[in-house]
Each structure stands twice: as C-alpha cells, then as structure tokens.
C-alpha cells in the first residue's frame, strides 16, 4: 500500500523566510489526518505543496506515489479545498457543478446533485450570495464529486460558526466513510480535529514537531507530577516534551514506549488537546529537540 503523503526534507522558502523546513512525514492510506499548529506555522504551505499548488524549494514530496499536480490524472486523484473556500462569486451553484463536470473526467454528477439537494442549496443562486457555511459546503461538494482518493482541506471550518462547523465536519466524515477516501485537513484548533482525526501532525515554527496515529500518541504520552527532579535523571526511554518546575515540584510531559511505574510520580494520561499544547509550547521554551517519529 503506498503512502498517501510522503515527504523527505521538504522545505519551502518565501524570499528569505522559510515557511516550512525539514519536513519528513509518512502518512499511510485511509487516514483522516489532522494538521495542527498555530497561525503562520506553515500548515497552508504544506497543504499547498501536497496539492501541487506550490513547488518545493528543497526536498521531495509524493502524493499517492506521484509528484503533486504532475499531470491531469494526478490532479484528478486529489481534491483540494483552499483556505476561505474560494468560489466564483459571479457563477451560480449549478454553474459550479457544470464547471466541475467539464473539468474532471471522473465527475460524479449524481453525488454532486444529491449533496446540493440535501444541503438545501438553490442551484440558481449565485455563489457570491451564499453564506460562509454554504460556500464551504459548495467547495467541499466540488472537492468530493471529482471522486478523489485524497481530499485536502485547508482550515475548512475557520470562518464558520460553531453549528455550521459541526455540520460541516459531520458531512465530511460521512462522505469520508462512504467513499473510503483519505483526508488531510488543517486547523489551529485541536477541538475541531479531536472528533474526526485518527492521525495527527503538529507543526510549529515551520517544523514538524510530532506526527503519528492519534491513538498511539495518546497511549505513549504521560504527564508526570512529583518532587522536583532534573530532566537528565529521567530514564533514557522517556523523552521530555515539556517541563515545568516550582521550588519543590516538577511536572513533565514525556513520551515513553512503556508504561511508567515510578512510584515517585503521579502519572496522568493526556487529552489530545494537552498533548498538542505541550508540543506547541516547546517553541516558547526554545527547546527545538529532535522530531519524534512514531514507529510502526
């Protein structure tokens, strides 16, 4: 089975600023991948590289085993819903579907028509008059109806209110399950991704901090609280993600392959949000550390 997304030392520079550096990830087939990180971390850059909208400055990327956007057939296998879900404001909903039908050999007209009807969108309505949520749904319909193997969504829910947000993600999950496609979506909010993702990539300051299966990440990260202790006195198989100390107490978030039985510690499991925040916080303490890879 080929990896959906495979990058090796991938980097992209804008002028003198690196938007993405040393990005090496393997994303297996059939996952819903959440790409999470603060604003400006390089999420959009990575997604645009994967969709073939951008050329890498260095390194290599393959999507579904091919260079992104190398040829029309590769484009047909990848759906991309860009940030702010752009649509042609002068064209009607029906004309957008016609556009999709004209430009995609694998277009599923029945799927598109059924989704539009179910969402209650008026085909004669101009896309410029749609609400943000409706526009996002239209863009998602265009992405889905070309029947891609991988669907990439860049902050698809960022501009939606909580209700529309939930509906959109729910619709996305239904479609994913129905058509068996892989999904790569980004958000700066973990709560958006928590319910839907089974694979997580955390991106901070243009670098990948951690990448892996959500369950595995949750099973191998712990919060340790106990008497103050220096990090170099921790066992070698426990990698420190974050550390906080008071005069008498230490709190560590560590990654360990095995359960921790040290009686000196109070051991807690982490929620996904805590885990992501621990990695995001590494920027603040200036501890770049090695990029952690999940062993499979």
């Amino acid at each position: 089975m080929t990896d959906v997304l495979l990058t090796r030392g991938l980097g992209r520079r804008y002028g003198r600023r690196w938007a993405l550096r040393d990005c090496t990830v393997d994303v297996p087939d059939g996952r819903v991948v959440g790409l999470v990180g603060p604003n400006g971390a390089g999420k959009t850059t990575l997604l645009k590289l994967a969709a073939g909208q951008l050329e890498p400055t260095e390194g290599a990327i393959t999507v579904l085993g091919e260079r992104p956007a190398a040829r029309p057939a590769q484009l047909a296998r990848v759906g991309f819903v860009a940030q702010d879900t752009p649509v042609y404001s002068g064209l009607t909903v029906a004309e957008h579907l016609r556009l999709g039908a004209r430009l995609n050999p694998g277009w599923d007209a029945a799927l598109a028509a059924e989704r539009i009807a179910r969402l209650g969108l008026d085909p004669a309505q101009r896309a410029g008059k749609l609400s943000g949520g409706q526009r996002a749904q239209l863009a998602l319909t265009l992405g889905l109806a070309k029947r891609p193997e991988l669907l990439i969504l860049d902050e698809p829910v960022a501009s939606l209110d909580p209700l529309a947000r939930r509906e959109f993600l729910q619709g996305l999950m239904e479609a994913t399950a129905e058509h068996g496609l892989s999904v790569l979506l980004s958000s700066h909010l973990v709560s958006d991704l928590e319910r839907v993702c089974d694979f997580l990539v955390v991106l901070v300051d243009a670098r990948v901090q951690v990448a892996g299966e959500t369950e595995e990440l949750l099973a191998t990260h712990y919060r340790l609280t106990g008497p103050r202790r220096d990090p170099d006195r921790l066992p070698a198989d426990q990698q420190v993600v974050s550390a906080a100390h008071t005069d008498r107490q230490s709190t560590y978030v560590v990654r360990a392959a095995h359960p921790i039985h040290d009686p000196a510690w109070t051991v807690h499991r982490l929620t996904l949000e805590d885990l992501v925040l621990a990695y995001m916080g590494r920027r603040a303490v200036g501890d770049a550390g090695p990029v952690l890879e999940v062993q499979r």
Binding site: V87, R102, L103, N104
Partner: protein, 347 residues
C-alpha cells in the same frame, strides 16, 4: 475549460459586440453617402484652375468630427482590451483565490492559461480587426482628402487603419495579463497596464516607426504644394519663407523633416522655421497685389529649395505589416513569460 472561459467572458463580449454592431451600423449607413459625395466632388473638380484642393478642404472639414471620433475609437479599443480583458484575466482569480479552485480541477495550469489566453485573445483580435476594417472602409474618401497632418501615414491616423489595431490589441491584452499576474490585484494592474501601453503607443510612432525603413531624402523645387506661405520680415525688405510638411508629387507622404536650402545649398531654416529670403515685399513679384504664386516662382528662381526627409505613401502597407509584426512578436514574448511564470512562480 472552454466553457468556463466563455462563461467568465460572456458578459463583456456581448457588450463589446453590441457596441461594435452599433458602430458598424452607423458607419455602414453613412459610408455610401460619403463615398458618393466624394466621387461626385472629384468628378466635378478641375486641376487647372485648381478647384480640387478646395473641394477636398470643404469635404474634409464638413466631416472632420466623425472622422476624428472614429479614428480615436480605433486607437482606444486596444487600450480598453488590455484594461478590461487583459489585466483582470488572472489578477481577479488571484485576488479572489479562485485560482486555487480551478487549479485543482483535473487540468494542468498550463492548459488553463492556454485556453484563457487563446479565447480571450482571439476575441480581442476579432474586435480590433472588425473595428479597424469598418473604420478603414468608411474613412477612405476622407483619408483621400485629409490635410497632410491627418493623412493615412500621419502618426495618429496610421494606427487607426488597416491591421495595426490587431497588433495593438493583442499586445495590450497580453501586457494586461502579464501585469495582472505580477501585481496580483486587478485595479493596480489596470492602471499600470494603461500607463505602460500609452507610453508604448507614444514611443513607437515617435522613436521606432520612422526607422522601420530608411526614409527618402530629396531636394525639391518650390511650388504651391510645399510652400505654406510668406511673412514680411525686416519691415518688408525681405520675406520669411515657410514650408508645409508635404513634398511635391507624393501626396500623403509622411514628412519627417522639411528644411529650406539657400542658393549655395546651406540649410537656412529647419522644419517649422521661417527662412529669410532677400526679396522686397513692398514691390516686385512678392508684393501682396501680385499674389502668392508669382512670389514662389521668384524665390525658386533665386535658387531656394526644399530638402525633405520622408516616407512615401506607398510604404503604408509595408509599415502596417512591420508594425503589426513587431507588436505580435512582443506579445508572443510576453506570452512565453506568462507560461513560465504560471508554471514556476505563481501560487
């Protein structure tokens, strides 16, 4: 892609077509009358005494306003094409982010650009060609009667006749597309396109067109065809000779310079200057009561001559083809740049 391009262009094409049809209808309705008036006038006039020149002047001044208006329209059309079809073509997509939508359909962006350029560019060419054609046809009698500064080869009129407007329109269009791609915003792109295109349209007639072929330099005797008039100088003890921008025997030539040579062959007046000629204006052949013609004969007999540098009228079509070729080559180079840019740099 053809459908999408047409759908995006439809509104403005229909509008342009309607305007062109209205223009063509007006010209087709008035054209035959104009031609009939011209042929009747030419048939009725006689070279000796010269009543034809008087007919031409009368005929032309009676229709000067529509003549200038339609010529300006043909000159303006390419600029409008660059402004409203060229500049927003890519810039508006980049501005709205819709390029990200269309680039993810199952076509390469090279093909996307090719179809957009081909269809819109073709529409621009057709519009410019038809507009130039109908105006060239309509104004033929007026071009035949126009004074030298509005004759066919005159810089402003030349660009509004024949096939040159097609070259201008293609270049203005591709220029607009290129600027839009680089600037990424429609409104600034339109402003820059307009400025650059106007600068080009000024520079080419002034700096490039005169050198497309080596101009003819020749010396002519003075006659009513090249003398504009005389003025009194030094309280009537001498006359100031002023030449027209015309050469004898080559009506409609594009005169680049027209200078006065004295009997020894020295240049005594540059283009537009008065040449002092030592002839009394109070008595003799140049006295006012003896008329214009006898003074010309007298000054010519003294040995004063016109030295003119010019392009004859029969170079109109070679110039048209050359200039259209130059603009087409420029447009092609910009198109090549656009394709490289859309593949490598744009995102």
């Amino acid at each position: 892609m053809t459908w999408l391009t047409w759908r995006q262009l439809r509104g403005s094409v229909v509008g342009t077509a309607a305007a062109l049809v209205a223009l063509a209808a007006a010209l087709v309705l008035t054209g035959p009358g104009l031609a009939a008036e011209y042929s009747a006038g030419v048939a009725a006039c006689t070279p000796v005494p010269d009543t034809c020149d008087r007919f031409f002047d009368r005929f032309f001044s009676a229709h000067e306003l529509p003549f200038v208006a339609v010529s300006l329209l043909v000159l303006l059309l390419p600029a409008l094409v660059g402004l409203f079809w060229g500049a927003p073509l890519i810039a508006r997509e980049l501005e709205a982010g819709t390029h990200l939508l269309v680039w993810n359909q199952s076509i390469t962006r090279t093909r996307w650009l090719a179809v957009k350029l081909a269809i819109t560019g073709l529409a621009a060419m057709v519009a410019a060609y038809l507009c130039g054609l109908v105006v060239t046809w309509w104004s033929f009698p007026l071009d035949m009667s126009a004074p030298d500064d509005l004759a066919l080869m005159a810089p402003l009129v030349f660009g509004a006749r024949g096939i040159a407007p097609v070259g201008y329109a293609v270049l203005a269009f591709v220029l607009g597309v290129t600027v839009g791609m680089l600037v990424r915003r429609a409104l600034p792109a339109m402003a820059i396109t307009l400025a650059v295109f106007f600068a080009l349209q000024l520079a080419v007639p002034l700096l490039v067109r005169p050198h497309l072929m080596t101009p003819v330099t020749a010396t002519f005797e003075l006659s009513t065809e090249n003398v504009a008039g005389f003025g009194a100088e030094d309280a009537g003890s001498s006359v100031g000779l002023r030449l027209q921008s015309a050469v004898p025997g080559d009506a409609g030539a594009w005169v680049l310079s027209s200078r006065v040579l004295d009997p020894s062959g020295r240049v005594v007046a540059e283009t537009g200057e008065d040449a002092p000629v030592p002839v009394s204006m109070t008595s003799g052949p140049c006295a006012p009561q003896n008329g214009f013609a006898s003074c010309i004969v007298e000054v010519n007999d003294l040995g004063f001559r016109q030295q003119a540098t010019y392009h004859p009228l029969d170079r109109f079509w070679p110039f048209q083809w050359m200039e259209t070729g130059i603009y087409a080559a420029l447009a092609l180079a910009l198109t090549g740049f656009c394709f490289r840019w859309v593949r490598r740099r744009l995102s």
